[in-house]
Amino acid sequence: MVKTLTPIKPSLAVKLGPLTLKNPVITASGTFGYGEEYSKYFDLSLLGGITTKGLSLKPMQGNPPPRLCETPSGMLNAIGLQNVGVDEFIEKKLPFLAGFDTKVIANIFGNTVEEYEAVTARLDRAKGVHAIEVNISCPNVKNGGMAFGTDLEATYDVIKAVRNATSLPVIAKLSPNVTDVVPFADRAAHAGADALSLINTLLGMAIDIKSRKPKIANITGGLSGPAIRPVAVRIVWQVYRAVGLPIIGMGGIMDASDALEFMLAGATAVAAGTANFVNPLAPVEIIAGIERYLIENGIDHARHIIGQVQA
């Protein structure tokens, strides 16, 4: 760790393989819409990157309501990947996002390897997309989703297909709902992923004891928020030590202190997800807090703290 004696303005830029971010803070897929809603709260150009809601080949209606419920320090959701579809995204949503000085990461999803490939091909041709994040870990859809993310060969096949369909940086978003994430990270690396997103939601369930019904219509849902942070930090640390790819860490990051925990564990960048719901300004406050930490500790580059936990 390089220390300097006088407080200088540290550099926040980090590199996710071929993708350079002006700062390590991204918004997590599905928690930031297509950016428009939050653009009313702050200038999106402040962000290191924006990840879109998951995009599929055709528009998707998503799951029936109720779709979410609160849990202790967390929430369950089963949105079911409701989205406008990749074509409408490119036509109607992307131009808005392209107007900001930030990296746009298109999160994609398919029911088959071919669908992943087709979505990728369209995004590859679109102007203003800077990277593709491949969601093989959504617990809330019947086919595909987590089914890919819990099978080593399917993981390889999907990532490989996406890799072959684009020259954009490819980020594999892995499922935490496996015995050991490391082999999955390894397969994704071999398939040509440039970076990893860790973690997606944990599979959970909640029951209303009065009605005796599941609190969300889909029965099970994805658990996100501070409750899962210790699991996410552990997975980032395990994968960082074992696999050479840069990591976007996420899972319960609410403030700069949480974000720094992930970076020390091995994350190159971090994403705010559920935090956006609680505090629309969370991402910008996290950026400021990381900068403050670097200054206070005399560290001149954000990248110097990556993986620096003394363990």
Binding site: T31, Q61, P65, R67, P226
Partner: protein, 281 residues
């Protein structure tokens, strides 16, 4: 935005009125649609109660009364942990608030008479509507129909009357007349007042029903409005995470145009007020 509690008092067992103040809290935020214009009845705010991560999410509460540009009032029922925490705040305490959010009650041109129908805590957003009509819409008359379990839970009736809005009540236990459901009172009212005008058109054609309350009541109001051919706008509830249209968590099923197919609409963003005709209950 950080607001400060000015008053937080129990109105009747388990129901509270809280006044909060912050610069411009009664107005649309800079950068938001309608920036600088006042919050509209039917809109709501998302309140962060407590400092810890549990409870995690903000709680939606409807604008009950816009007191000034810098202060608003909510009427809330202590129903769970979040509202319990809120009820413990005292004057001077701070509170993180987002809003006003959502669409608000529409008053299409041609509306001359508003029937305001509330059950229990459903009165919360309807009071804002009554305020607006009596303060700013001399062209519209209104009648209010307020139901509750018993006398103490018929909220706001006196306030409505103070605004010179003809107000009817109903209680399930008969502790306040009329005993029974408010929907019966509404039905009688409509039937009594409905007649053909000179041109042979039903007088209810300039009427609109605004409803908020328990689901069973809303359904029966909607059916009645449909029967009499009166527009019905109703404020819906749903679990929310973001409150601003980003998470897709708060959707309900509504009819998509005339073809009978359904789509999911966001309560926070497309609502919370919907045309009752479109709702798939």
């Amino acid at each position: 935005m950080i607001a400060r509690i000015r008053k937080n008092e129990e109105l009747t067992s388990g129901y509270f009125l809280v006044d909060i103040e912050a610069e411009g809290i009664g107005l649309h935020e800079a950068g938001r649609p309608a920036a600088g214009r006042p919050a509209v009845p039917g809109q709501f705010y998302m309140l962060k109660v407590g400092q810890s991560t549990d409870p995690l999410l903000r709680r939606p509460l409807s604008l009950h009364r816009k007191l000034t540009d810098d202060s608003v009032r909510f009427l809330y029922r202590q129903s769970g942990r979040g509202t319990a925490l809120l009820s413990r705040l005292i004057p001077g305490d701070e509170l993180d608030v987002l809003g006003p959010l959502g669409n608000g009650f529409p008053i299409p041109t041609g509306i001359k008479h508003a029937l305001i129908v509330g059950g229990g805590i459903g009165v919360a957003p309807l009071m804002a509507l009554a305020d607006y009509i009596s303060d700013e819409r001399q062209d519209i008359t209104a009648a209010a129909f307020i139901g509750g379990r018993s006398r103490e839970y018929v909220l706001g009736a006196d306030e409505f009357r103070r605004k010179r809005i003809e107000t009817f009540t109903a209680t399930e236990d008969g502790s306040l007349p009329r005993k029974g459901l408010i929907t019966h009172v509404l039905d009688d009212y409509i039937r009594e007042h409905m007649r053909k005008d000179a041109c042979g058109r039903s007088t209810v054609c300039g009427w609109a029903v605004y409803s908020c309350g328990p689901k069973a009541m809303l359904i029966s109001v909607a059916a009645m409005a449909k029967k009499y051919g009166i527009k019905n706008y109703t404020s819906m509830e749903s679990n929310m995470a973001c409150g601003i249209g980003a998470c897709m968590g708060c959707v309900i099923s509504v009819l998509d145009g005339g073809n009978g197919s359904s789509v999911y609409k966001k309560v926070c963003d497309d609502g919370p007020v919907f045309d009752a005709d479109d709702i798939i209950w």
